[in-house]
Amino acid sequence: MNGIAYGMILFLIASGFSLIFGVMRILNLAHGSLYMLGAYFGLTIAKVSNSFLLGVLAAIIGIGVVGLLLQRAFLERLYKQIPEQVLLTLGLVYIFSNLALWIWGPFAKVGTAPGFTAGSINLGGIFFSVYRIALIFVGLAVALCLYLFQEKTWYGAVIRAGMHDKEMIIALGINYRLISNLVFILGSMMVGAAGFLGSPILGAHPWMSFEVLLLALAVIVIGGFGYVQGALMGAIVIGLIDSFGKVFFSDFALFTIYLAMIIILLIRPAGLLGKTR
């Protein structure tokens, strides 16, 4: 249960990253920073308004705006220039971390689960946080919505088609630039929401960007990028490996995730559900 709940947080973080990289071929290493900023935005508004829901909305809208600015001001000028994207977004990580340090101070923060999810329930003699159970359902609901969007809507069809042949989409007269921007905003909004929803479990501090980014990368390497199913599969696999690893091989717990990555890269480089080009 711990593994699945953790996996849902990872899914929320990684699905945005997967979509952005899969659709737009943009390697946004500042993705972890967007998570961090989402946590801070949400925690600030939730504290001021005393409303968890407003905190979620603040995180979603706030990071959506940040993502849009990032995309329009910097990243869309660097299409297909991966080394430049890496350098730019790496620099942005440091800028965002120091901005967070300046605005919110050096002390780490942790969120509080809302109302009825704040307690624990007894499951077979073990007390389990209600909030983590709620996160499982939230994650599954988001996954379902994204899947339906991806598979059953026109926009989803355009996005999937664009992943394979962007030029053909443009030739058909579809405004792919608009679609790309919307994907980036959607991905950013998701990671922003993940930041605040994950804050009661993972907390927030100015230098957590790299910790989050590594996990997101691990998820999409294992699951495959561009598709919701891949991100979900990768997230659950990582969540379970991490949880079991901590219990049975605690001294090597952090290594188990990267061992899984290595094995997948050797056997199936596109990821478990990724499509080979």
Partner: protein, 394 residues
């Protein structure tokens, strides 16, 4: 009339000229004093890097320097801070700059264990007094010379008292969880050695890698014991505590050594109620010096002080006290001896040094209590005038 006015004007001009030329005794004395260079205090601080709490250090130093008007006797004080970037190699470069270029008379910091060991390795042969702001690892104590001072103590030397407290509180078995690096391991070792020396039994020891995001599996894996003893980095403790609370394991939670101040405690909220910790200092320490310090810090910085701020403030206080004893002399051998002989009342209590340069002072067992909706650390037990060196010094 005209000649009187002329004489008057002439005498005024003459007096003025004499003053300008430094003919007055006051000007002469001031000139003599200003010939002395300022006492240079160097500080190695990780402004950049993954430990944002290091920014608190400069606040503590400046507060004390402001308090004394940046002067000791007839010597002015100057502060030379360098950013270690929280990296050992950068720390050595910056220490070298402070010693060889800036020619500082005393150095404070750094805090991170790797940076601290690198700094000690370089600074010790220079013989310049070096006051550390964090507990010293065993290797640091072994490497350090006559010029290295840790008034906060050696890592195992501090946590042995939390182990002693656990025994005295009636706990006989313990599940230990700690960060998997030098500091975490040594903090745990101090606790475990003292606890087991009394007859206690540590039934489990979980070593947590850096960057662990989810602590739920570690909490689920905790074995049932009389208590849980933990030391993790502050932001990782914030991840552990809510999981521990949710799991309702029913075991008292002891922080082997203080991980975070009141402000972070309140983020955890009622989930932190009742946890135990240990430190020289807390906000609620009831003595005039501490009240004065806390009030001044809040007035200047609009925030409560952190452990690093009080450590920096007290380190600066010790330096100033030593300078008073030497009459402003800063020759390394003279200043080192003066620091070693310091016996001073600080916000944390009376502080002095052992012959090894390790602090002698009070240690407070702290309990997180709910006071009008705010969770604060309250001292509940005091170990008075103990040497922060293992095994427990009598």
């Amino acid at each position: 009339m005209r000649s009187k006015r002329s004489k008057y004007l002439f005498s005024v001009l003459l007096t003025f000229a004499m003053l300008l030329a430094g003919g007055s005794p006051v000007a002469a004395a001031q000139a003599a004093a200003s010939d002395l260079p300022p006492v240079k205090i160097g500080a190695l601080i990780g402004y950049t890097g993954p430990d944002p709490l290091m920014l608190e250090i400069e606040k503590g130093i400046r507060l004390k320097l402001d308090e004394v008007g940046w002067k000791v006797g007839n010597r002015t004080l100057s502060l030379h801070t360098e950013d270690t970037a929280s990296k050992a190699e950068t720390t050595v470069d910056k220490a070298r700059k402070l010693v060889e270029l800036d020619k500082v008379d005393v150095i404070i910091g750094p805090v991170r264990v790797d940076c601290l060991l690198a700094a000690i390795n370089y600074i010790t042969p220079s013989k310049i007094p070096h006051l550390t702001l964090a507990t010293l690892p065993l290797k640091g104590l072994q490497m350090g010379g006559h010029n290295v001072f840790s008034f906060i103590g050696e890592q195992r030397g501090v946590t042995q008292y939390s182990g002693l407290y656990a025994w005295e509180a009636g706990y006989r078995t313990c599940s230990v969880i700690h960060q998997d690096f030098v500091a975490g391991a040594e903090f745990a070792e101090g606790f475990i050695n003292a606890f087991e020396a009394k007859g206690g039994k540590v039934i489990q020891r979980q070593r947590i890698p850096f960057g662990t995001m989810d602590y739920a599996p570690y909490v689920t894996a905790m074995k049932k014991a009389d208590c849980v003893a933990s030391w993790l980095l502050p932001h990782e403790t914030l991840r552990l505590l809510p999981r521990f609370y949710d799991a309702k394991l029913g075991m008292p939670f002891i922080q082997m050594y203080a991980s975070f101040p009141d402000v972070m405690l309140n983020d955890v909220g009622p989930r932190a109620d009742g946890i135990i910790s240990i430190h020289r200092w807390c906000l609620a320490l009831d003595n005039p010096l501490n009240k004065k310090f806390v009030e001044a810090f809040i007035k200047k910085n609009s925030a409560d002080p952190h452990y690093l701020a009080i450590a920096a403030y007290e380190a600066t206080s010790i330096i100033i006290e030593a300078l008073k004893a030497t009459g402003g002399k800063t020759k390394p051998e003279i200043l080192n001896d003066a620091i070693r002989k310091v016996n001073i009342d600080l916000p944390s209590g009376r502080t002095s040094f052992s012959k090894d340069g390790v602090g002698i002072g009070d240690l407070n067992i702290l309990k997180a209590v709910n006071k009008s909706g705010k969770i604060v650390w309250e001292p509940i037990v005091k170990y008075t005038q103990v040497t922060y060196l293992p095994p427990i010094a009598k």
